[in-house]
């Protein structure tokens, strides 16, 4: 039998996903982006099982279709594999859909916006280094 250990701190579970209701992105996009980030950071390793759609939807208190859409988007990117009956697992740390040119174009756009927002090159490098950590 398992023991009942009682603490009141936050869980030490490293695989946490945060959804912000003030974020302009739709919830399914936030879920998909959050999982993508966890995969990119290596917190969700290849082969790791993801919780069932029903569990994520219940914990967030959202529609089942919202989470199903997020999982479908991740599947389309080649990041997860959905097996009927056994749930979703992380497939790979790299997406297959977009070409390097397209990704670099996105990076250039983001950098341009940061420069136009008044960020110095040094500040941008610091931000990029922090994000890569």
């Amino acid at each position: 039998m398992y023991g009942v250990r009682i603490h009141h701190t936050l869980s030490t579970d490293p695989v946490l996903l945060t959804i912000d209701t003030t974020d302009p992105r739709p919830i399914y996009q936030q879920v998909a982006d959050g999982i993508k980030e966890l995969i990119a950071r290596g917190k969700l390793a290849e082969g790791s099982p993801l919780p069932p759609v029903r569990q994520v939807a219940a914990d967030l208190g959202v529609n089942l279709n919202t989470i199903a859409a997020a999982y479908r988007a991740l599947q389309d990117d080649g990041l997860i594999v959905i097996k009927h009956g056994s749930g979703a697992v992380v497939a790979s740390r790299t997406t297959t859909e977009r070409s390097p040119d397209e990704l670099l174009r996105q990076l250039r756009t983001a950098l341009t916006e940061l420069v136009l927002a008044g960020f110095s090159a040094r500040k941008i490098l610091t931000i990029v280094a922090r994000e890569l950590k």
Binding site: L10, V15, D20, V53
Partner: protein
Amino acid sequence: MTDPVRATVIFYALFWAIRLNGCVRRGRQPRLRGTDWFFNVHVQPGFYDGAGKRLLRWYWMRMMIPFAVDIPIAIWIFASGRLLLLGWLIIGLCAVIHANHLISVDLAERQARPFAVPDAEQPVASITLSLTPRRLRDYSNLKFEVVLIVTTVCALVFAHDQRAGWKAAAFLIYMHAGFVYAKYAIVAWRTDHTEVHEARRRFYLANCDWCRALLTAQLVAKVNIVVWLVITVVSTVIVEIKRKQLARLSARVQPVTLPDLLRQSEIARWPVCYQPSAPLLMLKGARGYSINLANARALVGIAYVTGFVLLGNVL
């Protein structure tokens, strides 16, 4: 009195003692976080001198509803001499007490909301959840399950004829299935990632497993009443200690209002609704909790209760 009848009466008396303790505990629950709180509602200063006093009294009055159900039925059972029915009464009362408490707390909180500190009820902007899968097997001990299954099967095959017959066995197996269903529902509970929620989940699951172990023990051997009493008293004390630890920790954690992303207050019609796209078993509507009939767990639960009533008639 025969042995089973004597045991039922003793357990009924014990049930009363446990309930009275539960009443005291539940009576203190509204002010568990201090006088600034009424359950999970952060109330304005002086609340308990005005409206709070009235709401508290109503809440205490509602705690008496199970007694109003219990006492006339118990009197009838004692008068008619069909004392074995006390066992069924205990089971029915457990359901009534829990349902009554759930509804009563929800009602009390809704009544107290107009007296809440301004902006205290604002939902939080962000929700953090764990992406670790939560399945029944993650909360089950394989060795324990194997021992339980093997013992139950062996008891049915070898010890069946020496026991009270198929009726008792059918009842115990059905109760067993009920506790497995309860575990399944507890694992699926909506939760955040604080350890206190997880500890609460594990506490309830451990209770279910402990009850299943006792049911199997009853199936295997005819245990003396005194042994049963000792087991009941000891386990009640342990459960109470754990419950108090949980209550203390829960009181330290500030309650938050989660955003209603499902718009439950709009889609949930009281007392039942049918929302296939909602993942929850119970939706919190404007008038209280509503059972979501589109959820498979709700249908299994209804089938189980119906089966229980039918089994009661057969037995």
